[in-house]
Amino acid sequence: MKTRLTLSWILQTLVVLILIYPSWSKLIGTPQEVALFTTLGMEPTGRYIIGFFEALAIVLLLIPSSVTWGAILTLCIMSGAFIAHATKIGFGGEITVMSIFLGVTFLSALGILILRSQELPFIRDAFARSTTPQKTDGDKSK
């Protein structure tokens, strides 16, 4: 259990570190992001919304009680980004690095959810391994 938590925190840190720059640059509007969102036809509202969601995901991933929600949100953002890459902007060329980060973030978020499957809302119960509760005497000496 403890190793799972540690692993999860490593992945969370990774995702947070990756998300900080894109979130920031979307919110302040760097030329690259503006160009990107112009291609998508979402400039500027869409850029602010996505930037805000990314910032929210960072916060959620850092608060222990909301980590799974943060991971789900990250997964959503990355799915959207994947759709954007697949349908409008492609993967190669100038944005190869961005595509790689996308893949890493997506997989990390998925990893967090798997590591914390016991905390998942709605699914926890359906996927929990059936266990036999262990009753012991609670007595050290025995």
């Binding site: 699914i123 996927f127 012991t136 050290k140």
Partner: protein, 517 residues
């Protein structure tokens, strides 16, 4: 016109439709996102997640049939079911149908604890004529200035030096720190001190928080003997003696069995074991703490009485036992053994099978032990038959949260009453039924600091005092109404017991409802 077919919603069909609609909507949204506006992809992503979840429910998970058959719509049932208890309690449950305490019983305690008017209006809400026991009042009630103050000496029959005198017929029943939060215990202790009543510590080891308020205490020696045990589970005489020397500890109660789980030891779920509790009890935090079903010293009648005698001699305090009656024959043998060894517990607490608990297996909660009133009467009769009733005093416990019930217990042979849940209600318990999960929403049975935060000790201590005062005033009025001068004069003749009541067969012919016509 005969109705051949009623219009009902075919949920299976609806679920099938939903399971088709979800992927279809996903594809449509994706197309719209590509061809119309990228904003449609917000919808696409949401639908993607829903589809994934639905797929997982339908094809991956294997635990729930409902989710496999109906997918995401099946989840609605679990959601609704999970809020059912709240809805019933808030809206749909009748004032007199909830368990263990219905709304009118609870609100009587709440009103008393707030010290506000406890009168009812327009008549009784209970099923009046069916099988309720009633008090027979006298045509000539006792004037209030002629009532004698309540007084019960415990330990006097044994010629003990350090006898204890109760001045109130009500005590706080056994609740350990562990079962209750530190704040709740402190509030009870403070309130008990102000109200001048005794408080039982429960089997929670050294009663650190019970000592905070400075009230007089009964130390409960549970089957696990937390705080005063040898590693093998036997009594550590030295540690016990040291504990008994504390001035606050006035009596000792040896718990042989408890009404909520007779024949099984106390349980503290692991969710509720904080670092401090694990230290006070000397247990680890990874497992539920389950006390053994019985004392290791008590193997048969002889050794049980010998153990009582041993505890009496080293404590030097009035020492009694607590039990939930199982077999009357067994209890009779126990009493005969007491006579043989000339050792009597200074008090006997009869716990009804309906007793409260922080945690107990449902099978034990619902299915084991004799109910209080019958058990109390049986114990009283056995002691009288063996001619030793005056060697000990009887305490009763088990749902005695209001004066009417307490008076019944006093009539049936009890000398004083215990209540635990009555005091929990006075502290603000809302009967959320989560005592075993560390999630008590009102901070009484939880050690979660964020849930204890709202619990203000000083405020609740006042409630405890008010509750006691309210009950004592009612008891006085009831005693006066019965035409006697003190609680000890109450007898069975003061009760009206309907023929179909479970107590009726135990009654002498003179007290049948029609006998006094």
């Amino acid at each position: 016109m005969p109705i051949t077919r009623t219009a009902t919603l075919d949920l299976h069909l609806l679920a099938k439709f939903t399971n088709l609609l979800l992927p279809a909507a996903l594809i449509l949204s994706l197309l719209a996102g590509i061809n119309i506006s990228f904003y449609f992809h917000f919808l696409t992503v949401a639908l993607l997640m829903l589809n994934t979840l639905n797929f997982a429910y339908l094809f991956i998970q294997r635990r729930h049939t409902l989710l496999r058959n109906f997918g995401i719509l099946g989840q609605a049932r679990y959601l609704m079911e999970s809020i059912g208890p709240e809805l019933r309690q808030y809206f749909f449950a009748n004032d007199t149908e909830e368990r263990p305490f219905n709304r009118s019983e609870r609100s009587e305690v709440y009103r008393k604890s707030h010290g506000i008017d406890a009168t009812g209006a327009f008549g009784s809400l209970s099923e009046y004529d069916r099988d309720e026991i009633k008090l027979r009042h006298s045509l000539f009630p006792t004037p209030h200035n002629e009532l004698m103050p309540y007084e019960l000496k415990v330990g006097a029959a044994r010629g003990l030096e350090s006898t204890y005198t109760l001045h109130r017929p009500i005590m706080i029943s056994a609740m350990s720190y562990g079962a209750l939060s530190a704040y709740a215990v402190e509030a009870l202790s403070t309130g008990a001190k102000e109200a001048g009543i005794l408080m039982n510590t429960g089997e929670g080891g050294f009663p650190k928080y019970h000592l905070r308020g400075g009230s007089d205490l009964i130390f409960q020696l549970g089957t696990a003997k937390f705080g005063v045990r040898h590693p093998d589970g036997s009594l550590d005489d030295e540690a016990f003696k040291k504990l008994c020397a504390r001035p606050e500890i006035k009596m000792i109660e040896i718990k042989l069995s408890q009404g909520a789980k007779p024949g099984k030891g106390g349980i503290l779920p692991k969710e509720k074991i904080s670092a401090e509790i694990s230290e006070l009890r000397g247990v680890d935090r990874d497992h539920d703490v389950v006390s053994p079903p019985g004392h290791v010293e008590c193997k048969d009648l002889t050794s049980t009485i010998a153990f009582i005698s041993h505890v009496q001699s080293i404590s030097g305090l009035p020492t009694g036992i607590k039990l939930c009656l199982g077999s009357p024959r067994e209890f009779e043998d126990l009493v005969k053994e007491m006579i043989k060894q000339d050792t009597f517990p200074d008090f006997i607490t009869v716990d009804g099978a309906e007793g409260g608990t922080g945690a107990a297996p449902t099978a034990f909660l619902d299915g084991v032990g004799m109910p209080l009133f019958v058990a109390l009467r049986t114990v009283d009769q056995i002691l009288i038959r063996e001619n030793v009733r005056l060697r000990t005093v009887l305490f009763a416990s088990g749902k005695l949260i209001n004066p009417a019930k307490q008076l019944l217990a006093l009539c049936l042979g009890a000398d004083a009453c215990y209540t635990a849940r009555g005091f929990m209600l006075a502290l603000g318990c809302i009967q959320a039924l989560q005592c075993n999960r560390n999630t008590c929403p009102v901070g009484i049975t939880t050690h979660d600091p964020s849930l204890m935060r709202g619990f203000i000790v000083e405020e609740k201590a006042k409630r405890v005092k008010n509750y006691v005062d309210g009950m004592l005033s009612d008891i006085d009025h009831l005693i006066a109404a019965a035409g006697v001068h003190r609680a000890s004069e109450l007898t069975l003749d003061h009760l009206y017991i309907p023929d179909q009541h479970e107590l009726a067969p135990l009654m002498p012919a003179s007290s049948s409802p029609t006998a006094q016509l």
